[in-house]
Symmetry: C2
Subunit: 366 residues, 2 copies
């Protein structure tokens, strides 16, 4: 059946890279019978200019109605007088919470053709292929009480609350174990159980879920600081990493260094399956709005294109087409296609559109 | 005047590496007129076996009285039935709080002779020389309310509180700016001000301290997730990084990957100067107790020895001797001295004692 995809190009480099992801998805609609109807909606700086709000009501309705969102970026400079970081946070956190997309899937792999441009030695990262399941709708991002208060002596104090319920931990754990069964059957659960009670509960609940229903999957626990180290030393030792909202934010960027650029990284944020068995989903390249290079046609579209691959896998239910797209990206890279962020000094550099053309050419060749 | 150094070898590899750090400090006492009186005290598993407590009262008195502590490690397997991680945390957090050592100095540099064994390409890390100032006595490590509670429906909920006062932030910032003035005059302040109010206060207070008293130092603000990425991409861009307790824990391990082993990393935890102008200080290699290799004489003593160098700099007030020791470590490495953790496959490997001998030989040659 036809899937309704709400496309939110947003601002900064969002529109440029989203255009290419849509063009790639159009290929799958035309050539592989994937049934998507993609509709663009105003959002962010563009909608501020046109309508005086960064989130028009019609857009919010479309977000809530759609089978999935294809999100570009938000947070560029504009006339809203709201700092870009605030707007990015505001939009993302509101959507994450409203759609209850608790499972943030962030795959990271060492692309073999990029071995030269990686900051790491080839022997460190060759073959690395891991995926974060970052809990996305709880923890310190949403906990209360929070705020900046004035103390009795007139000085300020900042407070945030980090909190997890058993249910919030259990559903993230369950998601990670199920994902591991489709991969190499190994889960690393990451916390600071030695210092934080919420981390001790995290560890206990993950262990209980494992014992009850996933004894066939290998589970290890790791402290978050040690995980940061191991991601740099031996990223190849990981398969699925499940962790909380804040640790997931830092550690996935840590792992992002593997290819030297966030430009390669896609993400999917998924809810629990609804009555129709389908998950709400928000697909988004990790890189953000990058206002410094916006509008120049030089941004790397692969994060957005690989997010489209995740859409094929998780929303369209066509894993073989997702594989096809990921293989086409690898083929384009192997043929030497490079945007500026992943090129070595002296290497020929493609613009945003030309990089997507290289992926489409590789798709045509399959 | 004679300084009173309380030596706490602890357990695991603590005693082995601490012995070598003491031997190196003895060299400075004998040859360079550094005035230290080092006294060993029972602590951890060893004191449990002898006295039925991991922290004998006499040891605690010595800790509170000493000019500085030279700490090995704690958290090995023993008969206490307290999990090792619990004991390590218990001992460390109690000492940090009681001594009010709020400034955790964690230098990280790419040792040129280790370029081959680093997980990173030489072009990424060559010349990297940065230092973390991690706030060590506040934040989520100590915030209340905390704990695991049972909710109305009978399920559990874990809670921790992340909190910083203006005064706690200001003294960490001040320390970082002063340290930067002795280095390359650049401070990166790291937070998640886009998501956490406590991070927004962090950013505001660091900015205020900078404006008021350190306008000669360059200050930049960076989000913690971006910092995790940049430590992997371009560690050479950093000089002093000031951040909170939890981010400092993760990010310094992130940077620890630069040499491929935590075994190279020293630390100092320092209080505000007392009436005599001297800071309380806790010196400690970052590696921990490593029970799997304890007692075998193969642990890397350089983290402990470089912690002794920090003692020469910060407690003994002899920066030129600290430099001498760090140069001797570099000379030993350049001459090919390697413990197992930093050796390439096929390279000759030294034990703990022999590695310290190589450093002492290099000292004798100065
Ligand atoms: C923009 C910000 C709120 C967001 C986060 O911290 O979750 C971003 O860093 C991310 O990782 O998606
Ligand atoms: C053992 C643990 C409590 C400690 C911390 O988290 O501070 C350790 O990881 C460190 O970095 O010194």
């Amino acid at each position: 059946s036809m899937l309704d995809i709400c496309v939110l190009p947003g601002d900064g480099i969002g529109p440029e890279v989203t255009d290419e992801a849509v063009r790639v998805l159009d290929w799958f609609v035309a050539k592989r019978g994937v049934q998507l109807r993609m509709t663009r909606h105003l959002f962010g700086a563009a909608s501020w200019a046109a309508q005086g709000t960064t989130m028009p009501e019609a857009t919010w309705d479309a977000i809530m109605r759609a089978d999935a969102l294809l999100f570009g970026a938000v947070g560029s400079l504009d006339q809203t007088h709201i700092p870009p970081e605030e707007r990015r946070k505001g939009a993302l956190l509101r959507m994450r919470k409203a759609l209850d997309v608790f499972a943030n899937v962030r795959p990271v792999r060492a692309w073999a053709p990029l071995a030269e441009s990686s900051p790491f030695k080839a022997r460190t990262v060759a073959g690395a292929d891991l995926v974060f399941v970052r809990e996305l709708t709880a923890g310190v991002y949403f906990g209360t009480p929070r705020g900046i208060e004035t103390q009795a002596d007139g000085t300020r104090r900042g407070v945030n609350t980090h909190t997890y319920t058993e249910a919030e931990i259990a559903r993230a754990a369950r998601f990670a174990f199920e994902l591991a069964r489709t991969r190499r059957n190994h889960v690393t659960s990451v916390d600071k159980a030695n210092v934080m009670e919420a981390g001790r509960l995290w560890r206990d609940v993950v262990t209980e879920v494992h014992r009850a229903d996933f004894a066939d999957v290998t589970l290890e626990h790791m402290l978050a600081d040690n995980c940061a180290l191991q991601l740099g030393r031996t990223p190849t030792r990981f398969d699925v990493i499940v962790t909380d909202n804040l640790f997931g934010d830092l550690l996935s960027d840590c792992a992002g260094a593997i290819n030297g650029s966030l430009g390669m990284l896609p993400s999917a944020a998924l809810s629990a399956p609804g009555p129709d068995g389908r998950r709400r989903a928000l697909y988004e390249p990790i890189h953000g709005s990058a206002p410094d290079i916006a509008g120049k046609g030089i941004a790397n579209p692969l994060g957005a294109i690989l997010s489209a691959a995740l859409l094929l896998r998780w929303t369209a239910g066509r894993p073989e087409e997702a594989d096809r797209l990921e293989n086409a990206v690898e083929a384009a890279l192997a043929a030497g296609a490079r945007t500026a962020d992943i090129a070595l000094p002296g290497e020929a550099v493609l613009g945003t559109r030309a990089m997507a053309d290289a992926v489409l050419a590789a798709l045509d060749a399959t």
